[in-house]
């Protein structure tokens, strides 16, 4: 039988999950706050062959599943590796390969989970899965969670929120790019320059929420 304190703990956990997810979606959006994955985003919105959901579904799933792995890597694997390393080899040199391995393991799990999708969607998502895994938004989120010493719940929430935040950024930039294709825009600003300025203005709006400094 659940007690009041247990109810409160569950409620606090859910609230914490939601708050960290919203923090990652809006206030610390991977694109607008830290410019992570922006190169891929600009290529994605300009590519008529790839639909938004084909790329963002694998991104969200990989971020969600790799976040607990990243937390486990930080808590359990890193201390062991640090003790085993020679003195001349710092652990910081191995951070990319450790967290990249977490992302690749998550990619394998997501590849299996995508089997539950209809065949047409499955093939499209699996085609984008490796590109969605080896991206700055995934590795950057893992590294950020480790730097911030997030616990398991916070890491998972932040990872999920980062994936959804990336989708949010893609939708916003896609709509803006569609409108920026107007003939009223000077020719030299069309394409990459206008997209960058547009993202910069959106990023400036984010500062209204979090101020001028971002955690690194």
């Amino acid at each position: 039988m659940l007690t009041a304190s247990t109810d409160l703990t569950v409620f606090q956990g859910v609230a914490q999950f939601i708050s960290y997810a919203i923090l990652a979606i809006f206030a610390e959006n991977v694109v607008f706050s830290r410019a992570m994955g922006v190169s891929r985003l600009i290529k994605l919105v300009g590519d008529p062959d790839v639909r938004t959901w084909q790329y963002c579904t694998p991104v969200i799933l990989v971020q969600l599943l790799s976040a607990p792995l990243g937390w486990a890597c930080m808590v359990y694997v890193s201390p062991v590796v640090r003790d085993a390393l020679p003195e001349w080899l710092p652990l910081a040199a191995l951070r990319p390969i450790l967290y990249l391995t977490c992302a690749v393991i998550a990619m394998g799990v997501v590849w299996l989970l995508l089997a539950f999708l209809p065949a047409a969607h499955r093939a499209a998502c699996r085609e984008q899965l490796p590109l969605a895994t080896c991206t700055c938004s995934v590795l950057g989120t893992l590294l950020l969670c480790a730097n911030q010493n997030y616990d398991l719940l916070q890491s998972t929430a932040f990872g999920f929120g980062s994936g959804v935040g990336y989708l949010f950024a893609v939708l916003v930039v896609d709509e803006g790019r569609r409108r920026l294709g107007s003939k009223d825009v000077p020719a030299i600003f069309r394409g990459l320059p206008s997209s960058l300025i547009y993202i910069g203005i959106l990023s400036l709006a984010i500062y209204g929420l979090v101020g001028h400094g971002v955690a690194r």
Binding site: F32, S33, R34, A35, M36, G37, V38, S39, R40, I42, K43, W88, L89, P90, A92, A93, L94, R95, P96, I97, Y99, L100, V104, P130, L131, T133, C134, T135, C136, V138, L139, G140, L143, L144, N147, A187, I188, F189, G191, L192, P193, S194, S195, L196, I197, I199, G200, I201, S203, L204, I206, Y207, H212, V214, R216
Partner: protein, 310 residues
């Protein structure tokens, strides 16, 4: 015998030769120098070996004939004109070929016309978020120099082994492997200042400017990977330093911490939002100048090949 023949052949055909009074009777001795010392030596050796006079004469005749053949061949070679470079004629390219060559040159120009940052939009994350001053831009440059070309070459070598499969993973892990010695080297160079790069230093291993090649299906050679890697590195470093120095100047009024302006004109330039805006403006100017140059070259090709439709 040889001297006799030479003497006979040396006389002009229909022209009598007056003999001087003091001329010695055995004038054939003056003809001997026509036989080279090598021929004489060979005849002397044959005589020493106990050959008969007929054999000696025969060998001497053969040697003289060989020498004569050589002397006839030598002038012929001397007369033969040396191979001269072919006169440079205008290349008979078609207009389509010239335009294709121009397009290829534009594509290969990673420094200016096809810059990985300003034109293709790669490497934006570290530039926007980290290259906010000259020192950080310099660190990014060093990292790019050490990481980009080596990653590309290692990944191509592994892809040759794996049959070009699992490219994204191969490229990302190649970069992560190369990152290990690169980090140690950079730590020795920059020391604890490296920590100001935060997550953006390890994140470079999956930055598209480093591993963009994983999206291409055709497998390049290692030499080609080296050449293109160097080109991309140069273009990337130019863009990083330009943006870094300009942002520092606008945000703090300094260049590599040396005061240039009394006040920072645009403090926002140090933030990611300012980085986006400034990079967008620089990319617009860059694109404008590049497009003008491309337009000029295309017009030049059009005029040069105006008479060649195909």
């Amino acid at each position: 015998m040889q001297n006799e023949q030479n003497r006979k052949s040396s006389k002009p055909a229909g022209r009598p030769v007056r003999k001087k009074k003091n001329q010695p009777e055995q004038s054939q001795t003056v003809i001997i120098p026509q036989i080279s010392p090598e021929v004489l030596e060979r005849a002397r050796c044959a005589a020493a070996e106990g050959k008969t006079p007929q054999q000696i004469d025969q060998e001497a005749a053969q040697a003289a004939a060989e020498q004569a053949a050589q002397t006839q061949a030598a002038p012929a070679e001397a007369v033969r004109p040396a191979p001269q470079p072919k006169p440079s004629r205008p290349a008979r390219k078609t207009r389509a070929e010239a335009e294709a060559e121009l397009a290829q040159n534009i594509h290969d120009d990673h420094l200016w016309l096809n810059n990985p940052v300003m034109v293709r939009g790669l490497g934006l994350a570290p530039i926007v978020a980290m290259a906010s001053d000259g020192d950080r831009a310099l660190m990014l440059c060093v990292l790019s120099i050490l990481l980009l070309t080596a990653t590309r070459m290692l990944a191509v070598a592994i892809c040759h082994i794996t049959g070009n499969r699992f490219r994204p993973v191969v490229y990302a892990y190649s970069a992560a492997l190369i990152y290990i010695p690169v980090y140690i080297l950079m730590y020795n160079i920059f020391g604890n200042n490296l920590s100001i790069m935060g997550i953006y230093l390890p994140m470079m291993v999956v930055e598209p400017v480093i591993i963009k090649r994983m999206e291409a299906t055709e497998l390049e050679s290692i030499g080609e990977a080296f050449r293109r890697g160097i080109n991309n590195t140069v273009g990337l470093c130019v863009a990083i330093m330009l943006v870094g120095v300009l942002r520092e100047l606008l945000a703090y009024g300094t260049v590599f911490e040396n005061p240039v302006l009394s006040v920072g004109l645009l403090p926002l330039a140090a933030q990611p939002a300012g980085g986006f805006l400034l990079l967008g403006l620089i990319a617009a100017g860059w694109t404008a100048v590049g497009n003008a140059y491309v337009h000029y070259k295309q017009e030049e090709v059009r005029h040069l090949y105006a008479d060649r439709k195909h």
